[in-house]
Amino acid sequence: MAIKACGLEPYDKNYGVGVSALGENFSPYERINKLLKNFHNTPYTVDSQRAVLVTEAYKEYAADAQIIKVAKALKYILEKVDIQINEGEILVGGNGAPMRSNPVFPEFSYAWVADEIKNFPLHEREYCPYAPQTEKQKADLLSIEDFWKNNTVDDHSCARLTKEEIMASQMGYGLFVNTIILRAGVGHTSPNYRKLLSKGYIGIRKEIEEELAKLDRKNPDHLAKIYYYQASLITIDAAEIYCKRYASLAREMAEKAEPERAKELIQIAETCEWISVNPPRNFREAIQLFLLGTCIIVTEANGQSISYGRFDQFMYPFYEKDIENGVATKEEIQELIEALFIKLSGMQKFRDKNAVRQASGRGLGGDCMTVGGVDRRGKDATNDLTFLVLEARNHTRLISPWMAVRLHKNTPYELKLVTANSIRMGTGEPKIFNDEVAIPAGLGKGYSIEDARDYTVVGCVEIDAAGYEYGCHDASYFNVSRVLELAINDGKWLEDNVQMGIHTGYLKDMKSFDEVLEAFDKQMEYMVGLMISSINTIEQVHKEFKPLPYLSLLIEDCVKNGRDVTAGGAKYNLTGPQALALGTAADSLSTIKQLIFDEKKITAEELIDALKKNWEGYEPLYRLVNSDKVHHYGNDDDYADELAKFVFDTYCKYVERRPNVRGGKFAPGVYSVAGNVPHGLIQWASADGRQAHEPVSDCIGAVHTHVASHDIKGPTAMLNSVAKLDHERAGNGTLLNWKFNPSSVQGETGLNNFIALLDMIIEKKLMHSQFNVITREQLLAAQQDPEKYKHLLIRVAGYSAYFVDLGKALQRDIIERTELSFD
C-alpha cells in the first residue's frame, strides 16, 4: 500500500492565527483531551524519593569503582522508586517521580536545594512555585544534606577553578555563565534511537559481552574498560527490571479494572514485558521503548536537553510495516504520538529559584524533537510521520517536546504549509532549521557527510550528530558586549573600576577606530581563554565523578571504544559555548565609530563619563544613540552590520578548534536563548544606549532598549543583516527570533507571503529561526490576568513556555522585542 505524505487532517488545515494554547479540547481524541485535562490539573511538586535512594546507594556502594558505583546507583533507583500508571494512559514511564513532580539529583549540586528547603519555601516562590512539601519530604531532603556537602560536581568544580575564572563567571562579574553544566548533568545530546529500536537491549548487551570477552584482567591497560563494560551491563539489567516493573504493575491493575481498561493494561504489560529485553516488533512497542529508554536517561542524570532525535525517521519503518500489515491504523498511531507528548511533558527538572526567575522552570527543558529534512544520502526525507508529529503538536500544545522542523531547498510545499500554519497558531512552535547551512556547519565540526545530513536539533538551538555525538552544547554563555566594556577601559569594569581583563589602554588614548577593534580582539582572546579553562575544569569533574554508563549505551562509539561519554567515548566530542549580546556589542561599536571617530560629535571622555553615570545628565546623547541617526545593526546597513560580523568572527576565532577534555574540540555558537535578560541584569550601561541592568540584545537579533527598538526597517532588512553573518562558522548554532503581529500573517495573503519568507530564510542561509505570532496587547493582558491566560504558550528563545510562568523581566523583554508588521 502506497502511503501519501500527509497526516490525518488536510495539510492546509488552519488552526487559527495568534490563538496560542488558549482554550481546550484541541485533540480529536477524547482520551487525549482527558489526559490533557488531568495533566493541567496536576500540581507541580518536588519529590524526595530519588534523592534518598541515590544517597543510600552511594553509601552502600562507596567502595566500588566510580563508574560501577553510579551504575549500581541507577539500578538501585530503578528497582525501588515508586512507579505509577495514570488513569487512561496507554504509554508508561517516568523519571523517578510522578507526573509533574520533580526528582532531585544531589550528585550534581545540593547546597542550594537544602538552602531553599530551609529558608525559601518552594510554594512561596515568585516564579514556578511548587505545591507545599510534606514534612516527610522536607525531612528526607534535609537528612542527606551532610552526605553531599563538598561531595557534588558543583563542589568539586568550584574547588578547582582559579580566582580569575571565578571572578569572570556568574560567581563574580558574570561575563560568562556556566551554571548549566556546573549544577546539573551536561545533558544536551540525542541518543541513538535507531540502534535501541533495531537491536533492543538484548542486542546491545550482546555487543558489550563480545567486547568484554576480548579483554584481559591481567592487562592493567584493560581495567578501566572492564569496569566500563561491567557498569554498562549493570545498567542494562536495571533497564530490564524497570520495564518489567511496569509490566507487573499493569497486570496488577488490570485485575481490578473494568474490562475495557483491563484490556489496555494487559496490552501495556505485554508491551513492556517484550521490550524489556527484545527489539520492538511494531509501532506501539517501538514508541513504548522510545519512551522508557529515554526515561532512564533522565533518571540517570538531570542534564537538560536530552533530545528526541529525528522521530519521523527512526519510527517510520515501524509505521510503514504496521500500516502495510494492517497491524495499526493511522488514527491509532496518531493517538499514541499524542499520548507520548503528554508523557514527555509530565517529566520535570528541578531548577533553583534564581534560574526560574530568568527562564521557564517547567518541563525537562530542551527536549527537542526534529522532523523533516534530508536523509543520509541528501534526498528529502519528509514522510507521513512528519505530518502526524506536527499534528500531534497542534493537538496537545504542551511544553514538550520542543519541536524543530528541518527545511531545505527541496522541502515539499505541503510541509512548508503545515509548518507555517502551526507557527501562525502562535504557540511559538515549531522552530525552523535550515539544512542548507546546518549541514555545512556540521561538516565544519568534523562530521562525515552522512552524519551531517542526519543531524538533529538538540535543546534550543544546537546541531548534533544524533546518536554519535556528546556535544556539551550548552557549556557556557559568554557576553561579548562586556568584552567591549573592558576594551575601552583598560581591562577594568566601568561600574567599579576593578581590573578584570588585560591592559589594552583607554578609549580616550586611542587614535583611531582600528585601535578600538584591536583592543577588543585582545580582550576577547584573554576572556575566551578564561571561559575555556573553566569549562574544561568542570567537564573534567564530570568525567571523574559522574560518568554516564546508561546514556553511553546509546551514543556511538562508546561501546566500541570502551569509554563512557564523559571520558570521550563518543564518535564526535565537541563543546559548545555561546556568544550573546551580539547586537549590543555591534551597536556599541557603531556608536563609538560614528560619534567619536567619524563625525567627532562627542569625545571619548564624554561617552565613558555618560556610561559610568548610567547616562544620567546625558539625556540628549542617550536619546541620540537610541535614534535612527546612529547606524544600527539589523537595518540592512553595512556600517553597523559589518561591526556585528566583526564581533561574531572575533568570538568564533578564539573558540573554534580549541581542545576539550574528551579529546575533542570546541565549536562556537552565537545565541543567548533567554540569557540576554539575566546577563543584562548584572551588567552596567553600554554604549548602544542600554541603561544598567536592562537586557542585552537577544540571540542574533537587534538591540531593543526601553526607549527604542533599533531595527526599524522590517523583516526583509533584518533578514539581509543577519544573512551577512557567517552562520556556517557557528557550528553550535545561531538563532534569530521573529515576532509577528497576527494581522501580518492573517489570511491567504499572509500565509503565502510567510511561506515566501521561509523560502528566503532557506535561500539566504539563516541557520535557525523562531517565531512568535502574538499581539503586544495579548501579552499585556496576560500580565494583568495570569489566571485567564495560564495556558498561553509563547516563544521565548529556543523554547516555548507558558507566558505567565516567566519572570517579570523576561516578560517585559519579550513584549519589547520589535513586532514586525507588514502593513
Binding site: 540628549p620 536619546r623 541620540l624 540592512d636 522590517g714 539581509n720 491567504e748 503565502n752 507588514f822
Partner: protein
C-alpha cells in the same frame, strides 16, 4: 541646462515588506502630496506636497536637558509648554530649514518628506529584489497621490522595468488624464480607489467631485493593464447600499476589462497621532461609528457585488490572481 539636472522627488516613506498593496512581498514608496484631501485620510503627512515638520511631543526630553531645537531655529518657531517641552511649531514663522529635525536627538521633531533621486529610491527597492522575485512581489508607488509627481514616478517605473521589478501604481485618480497616460507604458498594475458615485456626496468628504476619478477609472480599464479597485467602506459616507449598487452598475456597464479584484476596506480610526504632530485636529474624531457592524455590512456588500458577477472581497488578505 535644466534637463541635465538630476530630478528629485519628495518621498515621505519607503516601507519594505508590505503585503497588502499588490501581489507578493513588496517595497512601497510613498510620494508626498495629494489633491483629494479625503476626510478619513490616515496619512495626513502625505497631503502637503512639501516637506514639513512633525512634532511628537511625548518624545521631547525638554529644554532643561536639551533645548537644541531652540538654539538652531533661525525664526523662533519652536512652541514650548510651561515646563519647557516642545509641543508644536509655529507654522507661520517656520521657514522650513529643518535644522531642528536634524539636531533633535529624541526624534520628537521629525521631518516628513525627503528629497530623493530615483537612483536613491532604486537602491532601497533593489535591496529586497530576491524576496520580491521569490514571492511574486515588486514595488508599489503610493502616496499621497503617486501620479502627481509624474515625471519622477515615470523615471522610477522605467528603472524598475529595467530591473524586472513588477510595479503597482496606487492612486486616488484625481489627476489629469495625461499623467496616467505617461505612466501606463511602464506600469504592471494599477490599484485605485472609487469612493462615492454621487458627486455631491463625494464633495462632502473630499475637496472635489468624482467626475475626473470615474473618467480616469474607465480609461484604466481600457488600457488592458490589470487593476484592482478599492472601496474604503466608511459608514454614513461611502458605506451605503445605494452607493455600492450604483458602483456595481457603473463597473459592469462602463469598464472595458474587468478588475482582478475589488477590495472593500474597513474604516479604521488611524492617524490621530500624526494629525496632532502636524497641528491639525483629527477630522474623524467622535465619528459615532461604534453602532455599525462594519464586518457584517462589508460582507453583505461583497455578496451584493459578487452576485452581480464582480470579484469582490473583504480586505486585502485574498491573493490577487
Amino acid at each position: 541646462m535644466p534637463d541635465e539636472k538630476v530630478q528629485k522627488g519628495i518621498v515621505f516613506n519607503i516601507q519594505r515588506y508590505t503585503i497588502h498593496d499588490g501581489p507578493g512581498i513588496r517595497t512601497e514608496v510613498f510620494l508626498k502630496g495629494c489633491s483629494l484631501h479625503c476626510k478619513w485620510c490616515s496619512n495626513p503627512e502625505s497631503i502637503n506636497s512639501k516637506p514639513e515638520v512633525g512634532v511628537y511631543k511625548t518624545k521631547c526630553i525638554g529644554k532643561e536637558h536639551c533645548g537644541y531645537c531652540d538654539k538652531v531655529c533661525p525664526s523662533g518657531a519652536i512652541v514650548r509648554e510651561e515646563h519647557g517641552f516642545t509641543i508644536g511649531i509655529d507654522r507661520e514663522k517656520c521657514i522650513g530649514c529643518f535644522r531642528c529635525t536634524d539636531i533633535c536627538p529624541a526624534n520628537a521633531l521629525k521631518k516628513w518628506g525627503k528629497e530623493m533621486t530615483a537612483d536613491e529610491v532604486m537602491e532601497e527597492i533593489l535591496a529586497d529584489r530576491e524576496t520580491m522575485f521569490r514571492s511574486g512581489g515588486g514595488a508599489t508607488f503610493s502616496g499621497g497621490e503617486s501620479l502627481l509627481q509624474i515625471d519622477f514616478l515615470v523615471e522610477l517605473l522605467k528603472k524598475c522595468r529595467g530591473k524586472n521589478i513588477h510595479t503597482c501604481v496606487e492612486t486616488a485618480l484625481n489627476v489629469p488624464k495625461e499623467n496616467i497616460e505617461k505612466a501606463v507604458p511602464y506600469t504592471d498594475m494599477f490599484i485605485f480607489d472609487i469612493k462615492e458615485m454621487n458627486t455631491e456626496k463625494h464633495k462632502t468628504f473630499a475637496k472635489y467631485g468624482n467626475e475626473r476619478v470615474l473618467e480616469n477609472a474607465v480609461y484604466i480599464s481600457e488600457t488592458g493593464i490589470p487593476y484592482v479597485i478599492r472601496i474604503p467602506y466608511v459608514p454614513l459616507h461611502t458605506g451605503t447600499k445605494e452607493n455600492v449598487e450604483a458602483m456595481t452598475r457603473f463597473i459592469n456597464e462602463k469598464f472595458k476589462n474587468k478588475p482582478l479584484q475589488i477590495q472593500f476596506l474597513r474604516f479604521r480610526e488611524l492617524g490621530e497621532e500624526k494629525y496632532e504632530s502636524l497641528g491639525i485636529k483629527y477630522p474623524m474624531k467622535d465619528n459615532g461609528f461604534e453602532k455599525f457592524e462594519l464586518e457584517k455590512d462589508i460582507h453583505e456588500m461583497v455578496d451584493l457585488m459578487k452576485n452581480a458577477g464582480l470579484p469582490a472581497v473583504a480586505g486585502t488578505t485574498t491573493p490577487i490572481k
